[in-house]
C-alpha cells in the first residue's frame, strides 16, 4: 500500500524525528474510544461503517452498565452482613483489593505494545470483571457445584468440583465481557494484542473481587477469630504466590481470541476460528490446571502458577512481536512520506523512543510535537490493525 496516498503530507520533518512541524496527516481519529470508524474518514463508506457500529455499540455499553449495576447490588447484598459485623476485616480486604487493582491496572496497561489502551474500554473491561462477571460467577458456580455434589457425590465434588466448575463458568463469563467491550468500542479492540490487554483487565477486575470474597470466606473458615490475620494470609497467597498465574493471565489468553475474531469482522476463516478456539480452550485448560486438586501443596501451587504465567507470556510475545513489526512498518512508510529517516520513524513505536525524541525538541514545541507523535501513531496503529502497513 502506498502510505498516506489519500492524505495530505507534512513537510519539513527533518529537524526532529517524529516531531516535524506542520500538520501530520490524521486521516483517522487519534483516540481509541471507539467512536472512530475503522475506515479512513472521508471515504464514502466511513459514515455507513460508523452507523453500522453505533447501535450495537450503545446497546453493548448499556448492557455492560446494567449488568455491572445488578452485579454490584447482588454482591453488596450478599456480603452486607459480613461487612457490617466484620468491618475491620472488610476494610482491610478492601484496601488490599484496591492496592492490587491499582498496581495491576498500571502494569496491564503498560504491557500493551506501542501505547497504553484507551481509558474508556479499559475501565469498561475492568468494571465487567469487578462486578458483572463475578456476581454471575457466584450464581453459576453455586448452581453447578451443587449439581456436581448431587450427581457425583459430596467427596468427589469436594475434590474436583472447583476444577469442573470455575474454568467453564468463569472463563466464559469473563470472555463475554471482552466481547462486549469489542462491540462497545470497535475502534479500541481490533486485534489479538488489544484482546489480550482487555482480557487481562477483565480478569484483573474478576481477580480483585474474588480476592475480597475469598478474604471474607477466610474469616468464616477461621471461625470469626483473628479475622484480619485470615484476610492478610488469604491475600498473600492469592496475590503474592498465585497472582502471576491467575485470572488476568487466563483471560488475557482468551481475550486474544476475541481480538482475532474482531479483526476479521466476526467472520473468521477456518484457520482463524480454529486459532481463536484453541486460545479459549487453552485458557480453560489453564484454569482447570489451577483448580485441579493435584499437584497440591506449596510446590504444586507454584508449579501451576509457573505453567500459567509462562504459557501466557508465550502467547503475549507471539502477538506482540507481530503487532510491533506491523506498527514499525507502518511508521517507517509514514515517516518516509514525511521525509524522516526510517530509524527515527520506527523509534516512535516505543514509549521510550517517543520520550527520547521529545527531549530533543525545544520545550515550547513539545506539546505540538507530542500531538504529532500521537497522530502518527494513530495512523500507524490503524494500518497495523488493518494489516496494511
Amino acid at each position: 500500500m502506498n502510505p498516506g496516498a489519500d492524505e495530505p503530507r507534512a513537510r519539513g520533518a527533518r529537524d526532529a524525528p517524529g516531531t516535524a512541524p506542520g500538520p501530520v496527516p490524521s486521516p483517522r481519529r487519534s483516540d481509541q474510544d471507539g467512536t472512530a470508524a475503522r475506515r479512513p474518514a472521508g471515504t464514502p463508506a466511513a459514515g455507513a461503517h460508523a452507523r453500522r457500529h453505533r447501535l450495537p455499540s450503545v446497546t453493548a455499553l448499556v448492557l455492560v452498565g446494567a449488568l455491572c449495576a445488578v452485579g454490584l447490588a447482588f454482591l453488596a447484598a450478599r456480603f452486607a452482613g459480613m461487612v457490617r459485623v466484620f468491618s475491620a476485616e472488610a476494610v482491610t480486604a478492601l484496601v488490599l483489593a484496591l492496592a492490587t487493582l491499582a498496581f495491576g491496572f498500571w502494569v496491564l496497561c503498560r504491557i500493551r505494545p506501542v501505547r497504553d489502551p484507551a481509558a474508556g474500554p479499559s475501565l469498561t473491561a475492568l468494571a465487567w470483571g469487578l462486578a458483572a462477571a463475578t456476581a454471575a460467577g457466584v450464581v453459576a458456580n453455586e448452581g453447578l457445584l451443587s449439581v456436581w455434589a448431587k450427581s457425583l457425590g459430596l467427596d468427589f465434588a469436594g475434590s474436583w468440583g472447583p476444577a469442573l466448575t470455575a474454568p467453564l463458568n468463569e472463563e466464559v463469563l469473563k470472555l463475554a465481557g471482552v466481547v462486549l467491550v469489542a462491540v462497545a468500542f470497535p475502534h479500541a479492540l481490533r486485534g489479538p494484542v488489544d484482546g489480550f490487554v482487555f482480557g487481562s483487565l477483565t480478569g484483573l477486575g474478576f481477580e480483585v473481587t474474588e480476592n475480597f470474597i475469598y478474604a471474607m470466606n477466610a474469616v468464616v473458615q477461621a471461625g470469626g477469630t483473628s479475622g484480619v490475620v485470615a484476610v492478610v494470609q488469604s491475600t498473600i497467597v492469592r496475590v503474592f504466590l498465585a497472582g502471576l498465574g491467575s485470572h488476568w493471565a487466563m483471560s488475557a489468553v482468551a481475550g486474544a481470541a476475541v481480538g482475532l475474531l474482531a479483526a476479521a469482522g466476526w467472520r473468521p476463516g477456518r484457520r482463524r476460528a480454529a486459532g481463536a478456539g484453541l486460545l479459549v480452550g487453552l485458557a480453560v485448560a489453564l484454569h482447570w490446571l489451577v483448580d485441579a486438586p493435584a499437584p497440591g501443596g506449596m510446590g504444586g501451587l507454584l508449579s501451576k502458577v509457573a505453567v500459567v504465567f509462562l504459557t501466557t507470556m508465550v502467547v503475549y510475545f507471539a502477538f506482540r512481536r507481530t503487532y510491533r513489526r506491523r506498527v514499525r512498518g507502518a511508521l517507517a512508510s509514514e515517516g518516509g512520506t514525511l521525509g524522516m529517516r526510517r530509524s527515527e520513524a520506527t523509534a516512535l513505536a516505543t514509549r521510550h523512543g517517543r520520550r527520547r525524541e521529545l527531549v530533543r525538541v525545544a520545550a515550547p514545541q513539545r506539546p505540538a510535537a507530542l500531538r504529532r507523535q500521537e497522530q502518527m501513531l494513530a495512523v500507524a496503529e490503524d494500518r497495523a490493525a488493518r494489516y496494511a502497513p
Binding site: R52, H53, P56, S57, T59, A60, L63, L67, G81, M82, R84, V85, F86, A136, V139, A140, E142, G143, L144, S146, V147, A149, K150, S151, L154, D155, G158, N169, V172, L173, L175, A176, V179, L180, V183, P186, V220, Q221, A222, G223, G224, T225, S226, V229, A230, Q233, L260, A264, G265, W266, R267, P268, G269, R271, R272, G275, L279, F319, T322, Y387
Partner: protein
C-alpha cells in the same frame, strides 16, 4: 496462531458480520450460565439419608479428624447445600442441623470462649436478628469439652455448640434449629450435638 492475511479476502468478500451477532452471543452465554445451572440444580434431588450409629467424617485439620454419629434414624444430608470437609447441612423433619468445620489461623489457637465469640459474630453476620445466649459447658459423649448456648432469631430458636479439637487446630461448630421446629422436635434430637468425636489421624 499468527493472523493470516490470506483470510482477509474472505472477510472482505462477504463483508463483516453484524456486531449484533457477537453481542447476542455474549448476552446469551451470560444468561445461560446464570439460569441453566441453578435450574438444573433445583430439578435434581439432593438428599442422602444418613444411617444412625455410623460416624460421618466432617473434616480434619492438625492431627485430628472430626466425625458425627447420629443417635436417631431419619436424618438426611442436603448434598446441594454441603461442602465436603467444610459445611454440612442435615435435617430431620422440621429440624435443621448445620455443622461447620473451622480452622483457626493463629498460633496459639483460640480457646473455646474465643471460638464462641467468633461464632456469635458469624451468626449475626448471617442473620442480623440472630443472637447467641451466654455459653455453658457441654461435653461430647467421649467426654470432649465445648460450649453451648441458646440461639435465637426472629425466625427460629434452637441451640449452638462449639467443640475445639484436642490440639486446637480446628473446631466443630453446630447450630440445631428450624423455622418450623417446635421445642419438642428439638428436644427429641438434642443429644445429636453431643455425638461429635475427634480421632487422632493415623492413630
Amino acid at each position: 496462531m499468527a493472523e493470516t492475511a490470506a483470510e482477509e479476502p474472505r472477510a472482505r468478500r462477504r463483508g463483516p458480520r453484524s456486531d449484533w451477532v457477537p453481542l447476542g452471543a455474549a448476552a446469551a452465554a451470560v444468561a445461560l450460565l446464570v439460569t441453566a445451572w441453578p435450574l438444573l440444580n433445583a430439578l435434581l434431588p439432593g438428599s442422602d439419608s444418613v444411617s444412625s450409629g455410623s460416624p460421618v467424617p466432617v473434616g480434619s485439620a492438625g492431627a485430628y479428624e472430626a466425625s458425627l454419629t447420629f443417635p436417631q434414624e431419619g436424618w438426611v444430608l442436603d448434598t446441594g447445600a454441603s461442602q465436603a470437609g467444610r459445611t454440612y447441612r442435615f435435617s430431620r423433619g422440621p429440624v435443621e442441623l448445620t455443622l461447620n468445620k473451622v480452622t483457626p489461623v493463629t498460633d496459639p489457637p483460640p480457646d473455646a470462649l474465643e471460638l464462641w465469640e467468633g461464632m456469635r459474630r458469624l451468626i449475626r453476620a448471617g442473620e442480623a436478628s440472630a443472637r447467641l445466649g451466654e455459653p455453658e459447658a457441654i461435653a461430647t459423649r467421649d467426654g470432649h469439652e465445648g460450649l453451648t448456648g441458646i440461639l435465637e432469631s426472629r425466625t427460629q430458636r434452637g441451640a449452638a455448640v462449639v467443640y475445639p479439637s484436642p490440639d486446637g487446630r480446628m473446631a466443630v461448630e453446630m447450630t440445631l434449629a428450624g423455622r418450623d421446629a417446635t421445642t419438642a422436635d428439638l428436644a427429641a434430637v438434642a443429644d445429636v450435638v453431643r455425638s461429635v468425636s475427634f480421632t487422632r489421624e493415623g492413630g
